[in-house]
Amino acid sequence: MAELTETRSIPVAVRLRPVEWARRHLFGTWYDAALTVVFGGLFVYGAVWLIGFLIRSDFEILRVNLALFMVGAYPRAELWRPAAATVIVAALIGYVAGSASAAAQARAEEAGLPFHRARPKEVVARFWPVLAFIGVVLLLTSTPTPWLVVVSALIAGVVGYLAGRGQPAPVRRFAWVWSVGLVVVAYLVLTGSGIGWDRWGGFHLNLFLTVAGIGLAFPFGLILALGRRSSLPAVRAVSITYIEFIRGVPLITLLLMGIFALGFFLPQQLRPGDVTRVLVAIVLFEAAYVAEVVRGGLQAVPRGQVEAAQALGLSPWKTTRLIVLPQALRATIPAMVGQFISLFKDTTLVVVVGLIDILGASQAANSQPEFLAQGLHEVTLPFVGLAFWVGSYTMSREARRLEKRLGVGER
């Protein structure tokens, strides 16, 4: 049947004039027309409101407090540190992308498949929300420093990418070593002069909590998920109890417990700082959800895969590591990214325990004497929202790409 319709409606490339196109697609029937009018009206209203908002509002509060929004209470004399770290991270991202691209090309060539190398235009189209956000930040700057940071970061990203692409294959094999090295360098730069995590803030804190939260919760969650399937009843019981307990408790409760209760259990000198405690709470919380997501992925791997691996003589651990997990984790990409996006947004909950993340910064800015009680939440909250939207939207788009590339759902 599908074939019949296919042969009948051979697509003809007709280029309609705009008026013709609109008549056909927007006003084809009376309800099409009604919907067009209603939604067109709403769209115009929204656009007019947005333009009015942009003209009417005074963005001084953002301009003055840009550093507060970005890095919180990080010592102002040491601002070069987050700046340098940003540049290093940009180089790291470029390097990882370049290495991945080179590896993908090598694989494609080996398999005799075509390889499409991303063009700059496509990269811009892919990451336009991030670039737009950087643009907004630059529009809000009153000093040349952010420009310097952005330009350096862009250059570092490109250089990193070219290095990743151009490195000889034997060097590329250790790409993860170089990457971890860059992370360590960025960390050392950020924490130099004794500025530990506990003095980090602003959007930087949100990003840190997200990345560190993911990085630490992922292996922990993986172990819990495997523990839940263990053949040892004790391991299984511990895993299930943990997962079900944590999933029954709101994150905010754990955050409060991390801040207030952790203090009771630990002696004064061992008591970690606030950010550390919050991070512990986040990791404990997130791991339970990661475990559940991974469990779903593990269940999606057919029994026959394990049997084939066993029949080849692979040990249970190698079967899990080489056969089950790679397939299970691929199958979990959509759910995992969803989980991490919600963690990203949930990091704003640290406001309730008194940390100054980007949301806390917006509160703080609004209580500064010169901006107090002027309804400037109307300006700061959209900015905060924009920052999160850019991050979330980019993550979900990248996840969809990855999903497609790895062929999740097809076997």
Partner: protein, 254 residues
Amino acid sequence: MTVFADATKAKGEPIIELEGVDKFFGSFQALKDINMKVGRQEVVVVIGPSGSGKSTLIRCINRLEKHDRGRIVVDGVELSDDVKNIQEIRREVGMVFQQFNLFPHLTVLDNITLAPREVRRMPRKEAEELAMRMLERVKIPEQAHKYPGQLSGGQQQRVAIARALAMQPKVMLFDEPTSALDPEMIKEVLDVMVELAESGMTMIVVTHEMGFARAVADRVVFMADGQIVEVGTPEHFFTDPQEERTKLFLSQIL
């Protein structure tokens, strides 16, 4: 062909022995007092109605299922609960499944080199050379760098055979290797299996392809309700089956 088979049978030395094997799933008995010996280089075809325990039987030989009573000895090693011992036997016994069970996230080459590298600790280069030889044996060396999903069913099953052969097993088990294939692909897989049999591989094959049985089987085993009902040469089954159930079954599949 038959001369070849007779010659090997003359050796007589069994590589697989099952003695009084019982297998239960809960209270359901899937195997009842199975006694069977397979000689080196012998080809045994197992037939029988669906649910008669054919898969269970061969899955007990490499411990994908654990038998509950009796003894199973593979190449002089008795199957026990000892993990080392199970792994040792699995290294020597290759298995080909009805659903191929190739690893979809690995290329054909990686599917084949995985076990030699990870289990036999073979260096990558050597493993890849071995894999290419195996792919030539199953006549698809040009597919080495593709993923299983890019291959036809017949090609996938041949890769699965190559993957098992790369461990250089002493015995190959086949569980209905052509049942999931489109008719036009059955022959390419059977051809590979016939060549394998003629090269002297010991094989236990669950299949209803009686042409294959006639061509290479030394013995045919007919199972029903978890029991071995009748054993004989292919000729015996085609011309002179003794049991009523055998006759009934053969009349249905031939």
